[in-house]
């Protein structure tokens, strides 16, 4: 692959949107071509700048008001009772992941004094500090392995975290 083609593929390479063969080809090319490596680094820096700019953090009061408006304009009558006096954080995942979380959060109760309880299909615990809680979740889950029913070790990683007014939902991929 020549430099011109590689440069056209760089954005897709960065976002991991190429097939395996093309990815490896570009990876190898960048490693050996200073010009394309420079181009790729420029591209990464550009994206970093845009990222820095686009951190949108809505104030808590605004988010609460927005959620109220949405629930008020939709047809969800029972939504009126959803607010609780304290923030509640929920962990949603499949059953196996939930079991995994139980063990790790059980340990975290002892170390971080988090009050864990089972509710519906989610794990919830109460805390006052949203940011600290997200950090806790990462600490608890990052890089851990669990045992499958067959006794194999399975790597677990956070697939995505949804952060809302009252809840953080963690989806795991196993």
């Amino acid at each position: 692959m020549n430099c011109e083609s590689v440069k056209k593929f760089l954005p897709f390479y960065y976002y991991n949107d190429l097939d395996k063969t093309t990815t490896l080809e570009i990876k190898s090319h960048i490693k050996n071509c200073p010009d394309c490596r420079k181009e790729f680094n420029c591209f990464k820096k550009t994206i970093k700048l845009v990222d820095k700019e686009e951190k949108i953090k809505l104030p808590f009061v605004y988010r609460r008001a927005l959620l109220n408006k949405i629930l008020g304009t939709s047809n969800l009558k029972e939504a009126k009772g959803i607010f609780r006096t304290r923030r509640v954080f929920a962990f949603g995942s499949g059953f196996a992941a939930a079991i995994f979380l139980f063990f790790f959060l059980f340990l975290s109760i002892r170390t971080t004094d988090i009050n864990l309880k089972w509710q519906d299909d989610s794990f919830t615990y109460k805390t006052e500090q949203l940011e600290e809680s997200i950090a806790d979740i990462h600490k608890i889950i990052a890089g851990e392995t669990i045992q499958s029913a067959e006794g194999h070790s399975i790597d677990v990683e956070i697939n995505s975290i949804y952060e809302d007014i009252e809840e953080i939902t963690v989806f795991l991929s196993i």
Binding site: P11, F12, V50, I56, L66, L71, S74, L76, D164, S173
Partner: protein, 183 residues
């Protein structure tokens, strides 16, 4: 590779089954992301808020027509994106209070120093100059982490068209921010 749109399997079944509690949970899990996507496309808080409210209202009022060819979240994104693009087009016909709008955006962003404010303004300008399609594809790809086939489904365009819009958006950023990148 799993994306945000792939993670609501069980909840989706309950929503389709008419479970109101599941619907409420779905709103709570998605409204923040829907708002952010709407804001990134419209670049205007008022429009983003209206888009967000309207998208959910339309979503629930037409739930009975949902065909399980795609996920509920893909469907919600499609409604949101269409509504946001409509909002941009409608706004073009109105007189915009530019200063007020910039103040609103600034409140939401994290730049503090004078140099950063200049950069911030530059990035805002580039984003605003992107056409609605380019801006939407970039938002869905970069910020929402969707695959091109998902973006294509949401926007009702082909994956190759989505890739072209994305590439052009990236090239616009690259060209406009070159001075800052090479510093």
């Amino acid at each position: 590779m799993k994306t945000k749109l792939d993670t609501f399997g069980e909840l989706q079944k309950r929503i389709i089954g008419g479970d109101k509690k599941a619907m409420t949970k779905f709103v709570k899990l998605t409204y923040s992301g829907v708002f952010q996507t709407a804001f990134r496309i419209t670049r205007n808080i008022e429009d983003a808020e209206d888009t967000c409210q309207d998208a959910f209202a339309r979503f629930f009022s037409s739930l009975e027509n949902f065909q399980e060819k795609s996920s509920l979240k893909t469907w919600l994104y499609r409604i949101t994106v269409n509504r946001a693009i409509d909002a941009i087009r409608a706004r073009k016909t109105k007189t915009i209070e530019l200063n007020e709008e910039l103040i609103n955006i600034e409140k939401l962003t994290s730049f503090k120093t004078i140099e950063n404010k200049e950069l911030s303004q530059k990035i805002q300008d580039v984003i605003k100059e992107l056409g609605p399609q380019q801006r939407t594809v970039f938002t869905l790809k970069h910020f929402d982490g969707l695959r091109f086939d998902q973006i294509a489904e949401i926007m009702k365009i082909s994956p190759s068209t989505a890739k072209t819009h994305f590439y052009r958006a990236i090239m616009n950023f690259k060209k406009s921010l070159r001075d800052y990148v090479e510093k």
